[in-house]
Point group: C2
Chain length 403, copies 2
Amino acid sequence: MNESKQAHDRKQESAIEQMNSKAKTKKFMFKFSVVAESSETRARTGVIETASGRIETPVFMPVGTLGTVKALCPEELVACGAQIILANTYHLYLRPGVGVIDLYSGLHRFMNWKGPILTDSGGFQVFSLAGMSKITEIGYSFRSHIDGSSHLLTPEDTVLIQKSLGSDIMMCLDQCIAYPAERKAAENALELTTRWAERCKEAHRQNEIMDQALFGIVQGGMYKDLRERSAKSLARLDLHGYAVGGLSVGEPKEMMYEMADHTLPLLPEHKPRYVMGVGSPADLVTMVGYGADMFDCVIPTRNARNGQLFTSIGTININNARFKHDTGPADPACGCYTCSNYSRGYLHHLYRCRELLSYRLNTIHNISFYMRLMQDMREAIKEDRFNAFQRDFYNRQAEFAIL
Amino acid sequence: MNESKQAHDRKQESAIEQMNSKAKTKKFMFKFSVVAESSETRARTGVIETASGRIETPVFMPVGTLGTVKALCPEELVACGAQIILANTYHLYLRPGVGVIDLYSGLHRFMNWKGPILTDSGGFQVFSLAGMSKITEIGYSFRSHIDGSSHLLTPEDTVLIQKSLGSDIMMCLDQCIAYPAERKAAENALELTTRWAERCKEAHRQNEIMDQALFGIVQGGMYKDLRERSAKSLARLDLHGYAVGGLSVGEPKEMMYEMADHTLPLLPEHKPRYVMGVGSPADLVTMVGYGADMFDCVIPTRNARNGQLFTSIGTININNARFKHDTGPADPACGCYTCSNYSRGYLHHLYRCRELLSYRLNTIHNISFYMRLMQDMREAIKEDRFNAFQRDFYNRQAEFAIL
């Protein structure tokens, strides 16, 4: 080895050391603090701090599957009160692919959304969308639902993909099971989910990821003791937050409520608790009472595109002929862009004509409705009147049902 | 007749007189003035004043067929630089119907657009869309393209419908003919169009319409002498503006240019000259040189929805695979919302996924491109360098064709 080679090696080693020490001293960009708790329910309000900004909880995350919350631009999301959005790893991995997103150093710049992003792990989509999916200890083998191409998705892959997406919160790969499921199948799935969570955590550590939190997902089907086992094993991994997965997979609503009610208190108290894929306004009001901090669901956006609007006086379908001559706003109690500028009659006309603006105006209204509902709940918790808030909400629901 | 009945009648008569005198003294809300003329071409720039605001000419009017410029909200149109939009009488008459629009005292409040609106007469849509349409001296009998219902549209009807729509500029009902057409058919259509224009003018007068201008439409097929006859007969009616109709109906491009070039100078000099249904950016640049002041066309909006973007370096189709990894803006010379915030790669991704945001971002860009082109032409005319502007434009076009 000549001198110059030695010098070069020393230089390189020193550069690597510097890089490592920099990574070690870099502060991890995620924090959760509970600000107030309800004295009569398990509801709580708090703040999550991420690399892309603060989130007040309980929070609802609009779904932006393919790097766009359908029909809205980022400025509209902000105006609606959205604090964080969800994007789907499975979908973005297939289209446009990690190679494209890498050119923008992540999803934020690609889609022009500056706030926090949570990405799921892709597990649920492989379970529900992909063809010929096969699960082994290694991960998921599956065929794309778009072009039938073959793919392998391991726990390590999902961490690396989400690292590329640059989400502020990433999720561990989990095995979701259908309802109903045999106890043995549910047990196997939860055990595999735990082993995969360990591998995800290790990949997260090895890649020295400092600005993206990693959440675990509790499985266990509709078996309370399995949910307990799953929650306990995952808690040991000391992840940054925990989600209740495997709900809304076809079980009766009461069973979903029972499982969420049972599982949420099993999750570490000082970490955010996230109920995945839920739900209707009533679901959110109920589950915040169980102690849930985070939600995501396609209901406000998808239903908007089907003409269904959530309002303070019940749910309406704007396609209904009775709105043709209605010059009032979609929701008289709403101050969103749609309700401030357009009538039910105009929204009815746009929807009947399948005009593109219809989907946008309906989505703006529904997202605003959801955001205000969460805001109202946060205030009710802070003022310790969440129990009364829930009662009022259920009473109004019952009234609308009669109308 | 008792005393109280007499008193009531006197009161009513006096109210009617007051109303009439008010209408008579009310200033008519339309004015056109030429601000500058090109010394080498017939291009000119001017200002149209309407009840809903000023318009600088030459102007391009984005098409808002059903009371919405597809994919855009009014604030976006303003941000793109749109000064006036076009809406379609035939479409709005069928959906949502005049009864609905009347609840809002016109289209402006219904669709939340505060600027000027021009409505066509419905003649062209009956010609191109409606089923089983039959033309008589009275008007058009036709069947709705939506539900097959039977309708009669007379010149008087079209004025009353456009009065309800509350547009700032309404058009006379005309008879459009296909290309090619026999001389006799073209002659009959132009004569009928003239008689209908007389009836439209009379209906406009009888209804004491003070805040909506009435434009006539020159027909005559591809026969120069017939175009001349049509222009002269209509000029005698002293309408508020004149349009060249019956172009872009299948004739060769050179013939369209020839007819426009021939017809435009025949129109009254001190009234706006409008070329209906035209055109591409090159068409606009050419026809402004012929002396055209106003245009409308679906090209920028429809092509946007098909992924075609107009840029300063040629027309691109965003669906093309070469844009997948392109992190630059759609048009480096453009400052629109789309080009300021999103890359070609993102637009390509949205278009490939048929995301709703794709249609909006593409439309914003194309409308901005058209608006800037018109703005550039107005400036070139003011500075009397329009001839050079045209030469540059055509040279650049030729360059792109090679690229």
